[in-house]
Amino acid sequence: MALTGLDIFKQLPKTNCKECGQPTCLAFAMQLASGKTSLDKCPHVSDSAKEVLDSASAPPIALVKIGKGEKELQLGNETVLFRHDKRFEHPTGIAVTVNDTDSDIAGKVQSINKLVFDRVGQIHKVNLVAVKNTSGDTARFAEAVKTVQDNADFALLLISEDAAAMEKALEVAGANAPLICSANAANFDVMLNLAKKYDSPLVVKGTDLNELAALVEKSGYKKLILDSGAREVNKVLADQTQIRRQALKKFRPFGYPTIAFADNADPIQAVVDAGVYIAKYAGIVVLNTSDPADVLPLITLRLNIYTDPQKPIAVESKLYEIGNPGPDAPVFVTTNFSLTYFCVQGDVEAGRFPAYIMPVDTDGISVLTGWAAGKFTPEKITEMLNSCGIADKVSHRKVIIPGGVAVLSGKLKEMSGWDVLVGPRESAGIPSFIKQRWGA
């Protein structure tokens, strides 16, 4: 909850010295409340007042960073309970686990590095490699951490509740701000000091919400990730919901991102649980699987849930060349909704023939939605055929439209003078359509 002008005024010196550029302290407070000025403009505000005001104006969930440089992952700054209220800010970080008992650690890390998917023209990937001290052995853990650090394209999450093992691991990896997991009631002081020493983020784990809040309070540290200790999906859902609700109400101990572990013994259920955590507030979800068949659906879910509801992802409306299309290459018409465009592009590429794709500007909506909304019309297609330069690039006058909008063909032919071929309904049918219908 933001402070009112009056709340702020109470913290100011009330001398009306005008050094802040405002006629009175009250005027300054009002400006500050509406975000039109910043606190540092007042040279006389006391340190204690500054602390009160800073923490009141801080976002309800702190921004926490893991790793450094290119590998850095940012979490937090969330402001809502439901994506439709505004949007979710920082997508859930996906961590994949390597055990220090695994036989080929470097090989496993290589397979994790490959969990990178191209979707709607963007690269989507996992974010962290979790190294777990499954052996319980200190040296072995440090060695595994070294191998992972040397090979991973991602930042590290170090999992051990044994402070001695963590200390050794941090001697290896501490310079890169890994996430230390975790401090609990038993190892608290040592873990906290390690986090401070390496200026690294720290997971605080309670046995329940009450203990978690107490440990956070006690820490006095700001780079925290929260673990309520729940492991069953129904209970994790409840705790994640509580933590988010409380954080938005500015219950300070819960004002940090969370971590959830998808370690259901049933591997399919573990993926399902991870899906719940992505939808419901987890800052990080830790997986035990690196099977792309498990990870792709989760990465896709994350992309969907974290898409800004106010802006569909769109591509630029211009002529795209796939392969090296010549004058007899086919021309496909579609819309500039990213998902639509990339479905078509992917399928054209899968057919392995050069072609032109012409996404009409529909304000980033799909074929049928665009048609129903009057944004994907014969007029607009004609206009783009005339303006994008395609007429100079191809020697034929044939354009292929999506099967879903076959009804457009008559009017389009009439307006544009191009022959209209009605393609398949699904872009997946494009390769066989071309084989059968494009005089090869």
């Binding site: 129904n234 859902l237 919901t241 819960f254 399902v272 792309p292 068949a293 792709l296 699904e426």
Partner: protein, 315 residues
């Protein structure tokens, strides 16, 4: 440090719909957001339906056809198989009515529906072929043939709701009300149908969902908003939500692409089933109550998950 559990004080709840001749299956009735037992009641678990077609599907991936080998051309045998596979509900789709396929007559469709209903002991969902005018004619006959069976029939749209609603009222069925991803359109249709005196608890909302990766987020948010509306007392949004997940999930490239075509995506079988399962479980988090699926393994996995989610998480 004691944390005071944050509970919303909802003033209303989702309506409860009963299905089957003996009203043995119930859906809806929640007085809180999905699975938040710490805050309210969740008297009924979501139900899972498996689809049956009255026309052999041609473009289903092999992985989807395999569990139904030998029954895909026989709706009665297929429906029984679905019950064996643990479906709570059988969802018969009268695809043969489609003018582009067999253009089957409403009478023929009704005969098929009756034969299927007589062969199974679980509730039924019966949908037409998706051509609104034809569906109105078909559902009229189907509704008659299944009088008293208390089926869920549809889909009623802005264009054909009058016939479908009338049939449901005369023959004692409930209706699926479809409108494309818009909370106001959905509400509007519910109002029109209740104005014809169809009780509100005999309507299921179909928001026309998209699959994971294909617009799931739109339906997800519409469903969350509808549930919040229902809990705050909007009776015209307080209907259970039905999600036709199977048809959407199995259209996704990620479900259809084979091991050879997309080796970097992992094995098709696991990936396609997860596509259907995760689409379902994500919608369950947004408030879906009735899920129409295609693969028996998906039904099995979603059940295991729902069993867990229905366990109390009260503090």
């Amino acid at each position: 440090m004691a944390v005071t559990i944050a509970k919303e004080k909802w003033t209303s709840k989702v309506g409860e719909m009963v299905l089957d001749a003996d009203s043995s299956v119930k859906v809806g009735g929640e007085s809180t957001l999905p699975f938040l037992q710490f805050e309210g009641d969740i008297p009924n678990r979501p139900v899972l339906a498996l689809e049956v077609w009255d026309l052999e599907p041609v473009d289903w991936p092999e992985i989807l056809k395999a569990p139904f080998a030998g029954v895909l051309a026989d709706p009665v045998a297929w429906a029984k198989k679905n019950v064996e596979y643990g479906a709570d509900v059988v969802a018969l789709r009268l695809m043969s009515a489609h003018p582009d396929f067999k253009n089957a007559s409403p009478e023929d469709c009704a005969a098929t529906a009756k034969a299927v209903a007589d062969a199974i002991n679980v509730p039924m969902i019966i949908t037409g072929c998706g051509v609104e005018e034809k569906d109105a004619e078909v559902l009229e006959k189907v509704g008659e043939a299944l009088t008293g069976k208390n089926c869920l029939i549809g889909c009623a749209t802005e264009k054909n709701y009058k016939t479908v609603t009338a049939t449901a009222m005369v023959n004692g069925h409930s209706v699926i009300a479809s409108s494309p991803l818009d909370i106001n359109l959905s509400k509007q249709l519910n109002i029109l149908m209740t104005e014809m005196n169809l009780p509100a608890n005999r309507i299921a909302i179909d928001p026309l969902v998209g699959a994971l990766g294909y617009g799931i987020e739109y339906a997800y948010s519409i469903m969350e908003r509808a549930r919040i509306g229902a809990l705050m007392g909007d009776k015209m949004l307080a209907m259970p939500v039905i999600c036709f997940v199977g048809q959407e999930a199995w259209k996704a490239k990620e479900a259809k692409s084979t091991d050879d075509e997309s080796p970097e995506w992992g094995a098709q079988e696991r990936r396609s089933i997860l596509w259907e399962v995760l689409t379902t479980t994500t919608f369950a988090q947004a408030g879906g109550s009735i899920f129409v699926l295609r693969h028996p393994e998906s039904v099995k996995q979603v059940k295991v998950h729902l069993d867990k989610m229905m366990e109390s998480n009260a503090y």
